[in-house]
Assembly symmetry: D2
Homo-oligomer: 366 residues x 4
């Protein structure tokens, strides 16, 4: 089916493979009148660009975005925005046994099981490069949200055994450390850990966190289109994510109600909460507090140790993976999480505009 489309009103469709000609995205339903240029998008793509430190893949890609449609005289026209990034570093080489065997932890086997064959070059469509389209589209969603007073911040919460200390939280560190951690001290320890992991031909997992600040109360729809349900889908759709938490997440299952309920209180004229265990969502609808999401990312499956696996023809073999791989996925995935959050929240906000009869009356009868 059409698995590459996300969103109801602000709807994106991504395309492209790791070693194909290009990757891209079509954004349909973007409101008209937004000021937009390539630089708005490029700064997000640059955050996921490979080759920026020793703990990311050494593949070199400029990942330069081109706006092909939907923008006229510097503003969006309301019609589809087509964005494209050409692949430039597809090394022409022998893919060797990757073409004929199944790498553990990868989608090689499942793609073959589904489609009968696969584009095996660099993982094809299941490569992390697929997220280029998400990030390019998410940059636009984030720009719109910013103009509506909403800020989204994602960062690395933990790498292997190292978790950030919130008392040292420093937003600048997200953008200046190779780990994308908002805590310089923990970042240094995690970096050392990753270097050792790399030397041991191994890889590491980690946890990302995302905070959405300034979202109004009332966003999300009851039952199946709950804001947290769509955020969970958005995050779990990022390759390698194996768990998603909202607010206090897994901890709630061992709590008592008296510990977990957030008391409402007044702050001036506004309703707010004494605590935010709920992570900003009640009954699937935003309550005006910070929305808090965590996503747990598995270690990069491409490791340089010898592994057991099987071939397409059912032969058991020992596999030695080559190539250029990230020793950890998280630091480059943080901006993907931020973008998926932006896409989800903006779409829910656009859908929400017709939830009340008085909104329709104000819009259509002046």
């Amino acid at each position: 089916m059409a698995g590459s489309t996300f969103g109801t009103i602000f709807r994106i469709t991504t395309w492209g493979e790791s070693h194909g000609k290009a990757l891209g995205v079509v954004i349909d339903g973007c409101p008209a009148g937004l000021s937009l240029c390539e630089a708005d998008i490029q700064k997000y793509l640059d955050r996921r660009k490979p080759g920026q430190s020793s703990i990311t893949t050494q593949r070199k890609e400029a990942d330069e975005v081109e706006i092909l449609s939907g923008v006229f005289e510097g503003r969006t026209t309301g019609t589809p925005i087509s964005l494209m990034v050409r692949n430039t570093s597809q090394i022409s080489r022998d893919y060797g046994n990757i073409a004929t065997c199944y790498r553990p932890g990868h989608a090689d086997y499942t793609f073959d099981a589904k489609y009968g064959f696969r584009d095996y070059r660099g993982g094809g469509r299941s490569s992390g490069r697929e997220t280029i389209g998400r990030v390019a589209a998410g940059a636009i969603a984030a720009k719109i949200l910013n103009q509506l007073g909403i800020e989204i911040l994602a960062y690395t919460r933990s790498i292997g055994p190292f978790t950030i200390d919130y008392t040292r939280f420093d937003k600048d560190a997200i953008y200046s450390t190779p780990t994308a951690m908002p805590d310089y001290e923990t970042s240094r320890k995690a970096f050392d850990y990753l270097q050792k992991s790399r030397e041991a031909c191994d890889s590491a997992g980690g946890c990302m966190e995302c905070i959405i600040k300034g979202a109004p109360a009332g966003i999300g729809d009851p039952v199946f289109e709950k804001l947290d349900a769509n955020l969970a889908k958005a995050m779990m759709s990022i390759g390698a994510v194996k768990a998603v938490e909202i607010g206090d997440g897994t901890e709630v299952s061992s709590r008592k109600g008296s510990e977990n309920n957030d008391a409402f209180l007044m702050k001036g004229n506004h309703i707010t909460k004494a605590t935010n265990h709920a992570g900003g969502i009640l009954g699937g609808i935003s309550d005006g507090s910070d929305i808090i999401i965590r996503a747990h990312v598995k270690p990069t499956p491409s490791i340089f140790q010898t592994q057991r696996t099987v071939t397409q023809t059912g032969e058991e073999i020992e596999l030695q993976i080559k190539g250029r791989h990230d020793p950890i996925i998280v630091p480059r995935a943080v901006v993907v999480m931020e973008c998926m959050a932006a896409l989800t929240v903006l779409d829910a906000m656009m859908v929400n505009m017709s939830a009340r009869m008085d909104s329709l009356e104000q819009f259509y009868t002046k």
Copy 2:
């Protein structure tokens, strides 16, 4: 928006409020020719029925389902199946301050923020009774899956501090303990814990687990319609769920690649895996192993202790909740999880049928 619809081909739309006339669901896209009667559905509804033990609400509801359409001479016709359950136990009473104040941990405030007002009787649409439609529809999905050799099993994994011991796993215990735990010993401890919690005017959280056995490899679609992404959405859409895990879930974030990768191996002619850390899904597509999902459920927010909150008009008050409430949500939610899993997997399987050119050729050119 239309938040009450789930699924692409096997598509359900639920409706109804806690204290309205009735609740129900329309299932559209059910394959023709399935043998179906009310008893098939009733046995699932009976598993979520209230009043069955001291640790569920004492509200008495027969929750009897009526098939209104889509079945002829005992078989589904392929047209919409409308199912309805009449409410019979809506006690006519003074809802008191619930109508005018916001219960902590509930959706009262967020519904008001979104819609301007709300049906405050028993939580209206945000009540747990909303899941009747999910379970009625899920019973049909589960019946179809069973005929295709797929079994779905959900149960309580933990309640408060008590987690099941897998070495004592006993499937029968799921249906015969009040906790829905597959471990009699842990169930007894958890039951005692809940009794004490109830006496303390408090409530408890817990964790549910779901295992899908027999699903073929190749189910799910890349990028946004990944099977795990849709399962995450399905589970997070259940009221009170705050975290969803696939396979080893949150644990992967502190792992090394060499620990987390599942080696492929041959078992006779079949490809299988030495371990199943991935929980049966690779790259968003099923790999033929058991699919494993966990959902963490917050403690029932309705507790009988005095709580701080605010009124609709912005006055801070102390709230004393009355009524009939479950001291824990999990045991009755287990069947809801099972049904959401069935709906998600069946829909993905139906969508998958046209993934290959040779499937189309076999179907249309005999």
Copy 3:
């Protein structure tokens, strides 16, 4: 697939068969705060009720609607509105050869071809009674549109060889003639024609027209979600409709551009058009003029003459149809057309609210 759902934001799902227990509709995405009661809906259902004159079927049905959810204290809550009409006149009888043979002009054969079998009682899901759900939902859409200053008017334009004379157009006649024609004189002639047709054991076709007044300019989306494209789908989805025209419709194909273009001109401060050949839609988007749609309806296929057909087992037979049938479909379908127009336009208007960046800013940043 899920063929019984219509609309993106204001989304309806209909269900039920001619001789089943009941028929109904779930409306999801209705804005909160609309005053609504059964009488609002009943007056539309009464316009499609059978047994009101000698030129409609003599089947007697009260067709009384019950609101099962989504309305609280007389107002819509924003959650799904479930409406049900019980069938009361399903005469228990021998369906005879209808169960085993294919009536010409009916969907008996195609349902069997698709689903393997069918509910043969009165046409099952392909019966005209299926439109009860459309009309019940459309009544709500029309009420909302009325509050936004939009009026929708559908009527019979022609029956057999008799077409209304617009110089005698009288809106009251639509509701007081058995033909639903807005022209008493033509109505009398058409009525006589239908009486003779009935006596000759035959049936008649006709054309319906619908005018939407007061719709703002700017409704509809480019390319595939054009307003006229969705209106065409809406009308063609009504059983027995075989052609749909917008504005001057089929006539444009023999015209010159100089004859067909509508000049723009000013009327006070407003932009308007000198003529309306376009029927109020340019490039798929409303231009503020009246929106004009016509739908051509085939003669009722159930006629009492002997017809040639085949049985399920491939035997050629002569068929004699019995039962209660409308000698013409049009007069009762006029309200269905009106309702489908209302559903289409309202949904497009709700979707349109987020088309511009300044609309989002006004809505979310006060």
Copy 4:
């Protein structure tokens, strides 16, 4: 909203403007394993290419398609196929008053009304060049249908007052006449008519017809996703189409049932019909006969006569249009119609694969 997407399983999203950098389409849900190269698509694009005769616009465009993703080693992989056509002939020029006034019969005014401003260069998104994406995607759908034994044929039925004579029907003429008529004699007359129309600074309308041969019975879904409803939407979504007919279309409204019903009969072991007034669709589902569709196209609104119109600021003016325009839309739109039919039928066929329980059982339990 997302107006640029069409289809449920075989889903396309088009993008691009007349004078932007490029136009294109993303096809998601294409079955894996289809042999595909650029030439398969180019031959369809060449049929809509401008500048091929004196009755098409003299704009010169190579319209060369590039496959950017989704094809590996000559076969589709099941992942999104991205197709792009670069614009090469956007003459840099003064668009003059087109930027500030509203051309009669065009979407200039309605785009401004909706979005607040527009890309005025050559009609932007509302240009006929938008159909490049439809044709590129439709070429793939048609190739798949051909492999399933289904042939789709569209041609010009009438131009101005000249209608083809079916007794002279010659398929070759469709591709060798400048009119795309399957009748050389009528084509010559129509061509003369168009030459005179052009000399008179005027334009002409016409009617296109499409026949789908070999589609199995059982395609399409009841109620809203009827095959004819989706075909009507598909055709009406083509710019300038103002009416759509299925089978005998508008003629049915003046017929009697005894004239209009198609008798079923046996042809060997197969059920067929004595006549085909229904145009191959009964109750919204294909009956195995030829599916027949007609679309009526208005005259090109760009004419070189002086016309009355208004400016964005509300001034009434006289407008003289310049540039390169087709004196008739129909001959180049015929392939668009063919492609929209292919997209609609293929999607319905893919959806149909899960309509029966026994199909699921055959697919999943071998």
